[in-house]
Subunit: 290 residues, 2 copies
Amino acid sequence: MSKPAPSVRELIREHYSALTQSERKFANSLLENYPAAGLASITIVAANAEVSTPTVARMVQKLGFKGYPQFHQALLKELEAQVSGPTQRRENWASEAPEGHLLNRFAQAVTDNLGQTFSNLDYEQFDMAVRQLANTEGRLYVVGGRITRALADYAFTHFQAIRQRVTHMTSSSATWPHYVLDMEAGDTLLMFDVRRYETNLQRLAELAAERGVKIILITDQWASPITSVAQHTFNCWVEIPSAWDSNISTMMLLEAMIAATQEEGWDETRERYERLDELFDMTRLFRKFS
Amino acid sequence: MSKPAPSVRELIREHYSALTQSERKFANSLLENYPAAGLASITIVAANAEVSTPTVARMVQKLGFKGYPQFHQALLKELEAQVSGPTQRRENWASEAPEGHLLNRFAQAVTDNLGQTFSNLDYEQFDMAVRQLANTEGRLYVVGGRITRALADYAFTHFQAIRQRVTHMTSSSATWPHYVLDMEAGDTLLMFDVRRYETNLQRLAELAAERGVKIILITDQWASPITSVAQHTFNCWVEIPSAWDSNISTMMLLEAMIAATQEEGWDETRERYERLDELFDMTRLFRKFS
DNA sequence: CAGCGCGTGAAAACATTTTTCCAAACCGCA
DNA sequence: TGCGGTTTGGAAAAATGTTTTCACGCGCTG
């Protein structure tokens, strides 16, 4: 063969859009546990993925194999090539990219950041902050800086779905005084401030604190000065080999908070969530999967 | 099992003295090309070693297997263990939180997602997409859906910093036709579409594709239908134990793209970047660390 | 050199796997 | 709600793989 045969993984990617729902179910099962989930007989493999044998048979044909045995052989070849291959895959999330490829350097940095962030996370603080976020007696204000505005937006979109009384303070600091005017003791202010800490944000934090607002601050490993007026501060590791900072760990923390908040107030908010879900269902074109 | 199962290699050595001539012939053939020479069907394996099928069948029974299929399975297991062994060792980001704490469950899910996303990433596609993103001859349009709007915003903020001619198509789809009007062949459209794929986005993609715009699609593991008109599609794993989907891996991919784009066109954009940096410096209050 | 026993593989019998076919379920759509 | 196309899995048919049987050949032994 002149071309290097594409891996089964690649074949799945390539044909994924042409696969039916059950076929995807199998594809996912295979990708999740690759390639082990494809090494047994078609009967067993199908049973593991909870689809029927014909489904698997049809799918491997879609991938371009003449039949299941061919597919099976292809997987074996890959496995074997990997074992006898030049270097044992590196322990991390090496993509197939070459050693020094940006993707791999990047993956390394992200791993480190997430690891650091997690191990420096005080889960009791986390739980308290979550309780605060789930408390719907006060309003919840969300605000971010130049870069973190997107995160604040993301937070807003989700919190809005799971609780009432949420406000996104737009990035134009000119409008902030209006919001502050309405803040009351018992309200919560979720702030994002990573380096180039912004003066405006600090002023806002001070004003809010004076009014008795509880501040939850998500910042970087060097900690924004807002820390001093915040109830709860969370530090996220953000360094990557680049001129700017990564917000993946920030995002991770945020999502964890959203998930926890939702779990916290699930009984009360479930109905709300389902109603919203239905509203979207009414306009959607494509079905959500199982 | 209490004892670690002995490898087939060991079994052969152990029983070697009890093997007949033809059986040894097969044993040697297997050891010479281990374990590949034992992975096919008994018929083929026997033919390769130039012995008869019964010989192989008898021998594997001598080794202690009930039949050829069991022997075959054992070889597979070994192979698989070899491959997944060192790789599988996942970093444990466990915070100090208790075992079943949401933080730990969440960390687990995120690890899996990032791992999956990375290993399914086609780095050649990635490089091509990056080259497209770095190409400033055409405009770069960025757009997202209901949830991914925040990501599109994040992308916009960064791309705007590193290159010229970037447009963020606001989330209100009513304004999209105006943008499409101005699109030209050679332009690039960076789209985010994760499930509950949105009809509007698909229409937009189709219109843009018709005008010769290159589409880079960032979607989830189930692939938005936009795939069919996109130049480059990237799948991000998004499942977490929650009613909604995680966008951490999406964010990771996005950041990797931004980093790569910046690296790609660094010489041309460095000056631009520094100038912007200075502008921010002029208004900031707190010093950037290190 | 006849007789015995073991090793071997052809071929038959058997078991399993794979494929094909088809009817039922499902889905989007009018 | 009913229609038309697609998807799905049960079951039978076909193919393939595995095991067993058995007869032949070889070499050793008395």
